[in-house]
């Protein structure tokens, strides 16, 4: 069959404009599909990568908006199997006149570096952060996008909270591409004291508590222990793994996974129609030629594979351009400024290659009917048009 490849390629190049447009539709659509799926794969990768740190997230049974009293942090620390724990309180303040809010969290400066060991802060910067009540540590990507360096002031205007924070960058954390490098951590106490000074009823809420268990076994046990420990209090809580938390968090946006899946299916169906139309036109134009091929000894199987081959080449070409294009684009262009909060997004090889395979399969499926018809075309009918 490899022998036919040059012929197949010539046939693809035959109607250049038509092939080009078909390839382009496939490329553009696959670019989109690959990006959407990368969003899912990379998030999964991130949760998988962080599993070794045995983190649990404790939040109010009613969800993220519920209250978790700050005293819980200490009580959780004392539970058997807990290695360290920190509050993780979402501030959500406005930075200058920016519309999009980035992640700002009130943490325990003594514990946070241990809980998030994979978020690496240089030791001297960590010390500086711990020593400065209004200090903050920011992710490397965030620092880059905002143009911050150590010592820079970061004023945050309260939006949910009735207080403003005047922060100073004391440290920059970094790590592998599987961590979120767009967060800002500040002293929980600084927020809490400001709230108390403002006589706000919002003081004393840890938001959520993130703990690091001593081992994976301890983690399983802790999930139950924690729920039991606070079951009869005013603020009962639940403990989730990062994976569960991720899923719960996503569910606030609706079923993103299903949305991406259905969108992709719709795109694939549309592409099938486009590609099938291209092959049907090719078939119509080449009736004579197909008859000739058969007259000189090409079998039905030969004709079938010529047409299917052509459809697969068109699909794969579009796939390569779209999917590898997406991969290349994300590898060379920094989108964290354009897509705030999505700075972690990149296109994994597995997703890009799966996209190419999908495109080739779209080609294959779109070619089945035209190829079958070509293979079963009556030579006599075709030749009567010829002679």
């Amino acid at each position: 069959m490899i022998k036919f490849l040059p012929l197949v390629v010539r046939n693809v190049a035959r109607n250049k404009i038509r092939s080009l447009f078909t390839c382009l539709s496939i490329a553009v659509s696959l670019f989109l599909v690959v990006m959407l799926y990368s969003f899912l794969t990379v998030q999964d990768e991130m949760t998988v990568a962080s599993r070794v740190y045995n983190r649990l997230i404790v939040m109010n049974v009613q969800g993220l908006a519920g209250n978790v009293p700050i005293a819980y942090v200490d009580r959780i620390r004392k539970l058997d199997g807990v290695r360290s724990a920190t509050s993780f309180s979402w501030f959500g303040g406005k930075y200058r006149d920016e519309k999009i809010v980035f992640g700002q969290f009130g943490v325990d400066p003594q514990s946070v570096a241990d809980v998030y060991e994979d978020y690496v802060v240089p030791p001297d910067q960590l010390q500086a952060f711990q020593a400065d009540r209004t200090g903050c540590v920011v992710g490397a990507l965030l620092a880059k996008n905002k143009g911050w360096s150590i010592g820079d002031k970061v004023p945050l205007k309260g939006d949910i909270y009735p207080v403003n924070l005047e922060l100073t960058v004391r440290g920059i954390y970094d790590g592998s591409s599987s961590i979120d490098r767009e967060m800002l951590w500040f002293h929980f106490d600084y927020l809490d004291e400001s709230l108390k000074a403002a006589r706000s009823t919002m003081a004393g809420n840890a938001g959520i508590v993130v703990l690091r268990a001593k081992s994976a076994e301890a983690m399983n046990r802790l999930t139950e222990d924690i729920e039991l420990a606070f079951a009869s209090s005013d603020a009962p809580v639940k403990a989730l793994t990062e994976k569960q938390f991720q899923a719960e968090f996503m569910s606030y946006m609706g079923d993103v996974r299903a949305f991406i899946r259905y969108t992709s299916i719709a795109i694939v169906i549309a592409l099938l129609c486009v590609a099938a139309n291209t092959m049907a036109m090719a078939l119509r134009e080449r009736t004579r030629e197909i008859a000739l091929f058969k007259a000189i000894g090409f079998s039905q199987a030969n004709v079938l594979s010529l047409f299917l081959g052509e459809a697969v080449v068109i699909g794969a070409l579009g796939g390569v351009v779209g999917c590898l294009g997406a991969k290349l684009l994300f590898a060379t262009v920094d989108f964290s400024k354009m897509l705030p909060g999505l700075g972690w997004l990149y296109v994994p090889w597995s997703t890009a290659l799966a996209g190419v395979a999908l495109a080739a399969s779209i080609g294959l499926v779109s070619g089945v009917v035209p190829a079958w018809r070509a293979a079963h075309l009556s030579v006599l009918e075709g030749l009567r048009k010829v002679v």
Partner: protein, 238 residues
């Protein structure tokens, strides 16, 4: 039976009829025909008399309503659809009135086309194709595309394509029908030469008495049967 054994083509009591709108169209009726190895037969006859049908039957592109078609010792009725394809690629050369070259392939590549179906390697395929092009005198046009060739040259490439697999039988359906007199002459010279030098058996359908004269013998198709005919008598009768 000796005649039969020596024949490249044997039609035994062949009838062929088509159905169109529930009306039977008889084309061949109980015809028996032997064409010996090395023969060069011209087939003439009015339009619609069944000349192309004869070639299609010999090529296994169509099956007789009754009777048997035996080509080079192979009863075509015994072969499946796929078997016929394979058999055609190994035994047959086909030339059409319109040359039917692939526009996206060079002359050389067009000639190589039937060789793709053989186990020959790439280098051997090229050699065979080059040899076939040399026979038709177009070795210097190997890299030209069909649109860069004249009608006569295109038809010669088509002949080279038909020769590439070294066929025992060459079927030509009005091969000069689209050509000017000079080009037609070239093509006919070529067919005669193939028949003379290589002993290729040729059946050529034609309307042109000048073309028919170049063949070894003439068959006239009339009312569903073949008659040995004499070209001069035929011309005189007109």
């Amino acid at each position: 039976m000796s005649e039969h054994a020596d024949a490249v083509v044997a039609l035994l009591n062949v009838s062929k009829e088509f159905m169109r709108d529930k009306i039977r169209i008889p084309v061949l009726s109980n015809t028996t025909l032997h064409i010996p190895r090395g023969d060069f037969v011209a087939v003439m006859g009015p339009s619609g008399s069944g000349k192309s049908t004869l070639l299609n039957l010999c090529a296994g592109l169509d099956r007789p309503t009754t009777g048997e078609v035996i080509v080079n010792g192979q009863n075509l009725g015994d072969l499946s659809e796929a078997g016929l394809s394979r058999w055609r690629s190994e035994n047959l050369g086909f030339i059409f009135q319109s040359y039917n070259l692939m526009p996206v392939l060079t002359a050389q590549e067009n000639v190589e086309l039937p060789l793709l179906l053989t186990p020959l390697r790439r280098a051997e395929r090229r050699k065979h194709a080059a040899a076939a092009l040399a026979i038709v005198g177009l070795e210097d046009r190997a890299d030209h595309y069909p649109r860069q060739l004249s009608g006569g040259q295109e038809q010669r490439v088509a002949i080279a394509r038909a020769l590439a697999n070294d066929p025992v039988l060459l079927l030509a359906d009005e091969p000069t029908g689209n050509l000017d007199a000079a080009s037609a002459q070239d093509v006919l010279d070529l067919l005669v030469q193939l028949n003379d030098h290589y002993g290729t058996t040729i059946i050529m359908v034609t309307h042109d008495p000048k073309a028919a004269r170049r063949a070894k013998r003439l068959l006239h198709l009339e009312k569903g049967d073949f008659v040995q005919a004499d070209i001069d008598a035929l011309e005189a009768a007109r």
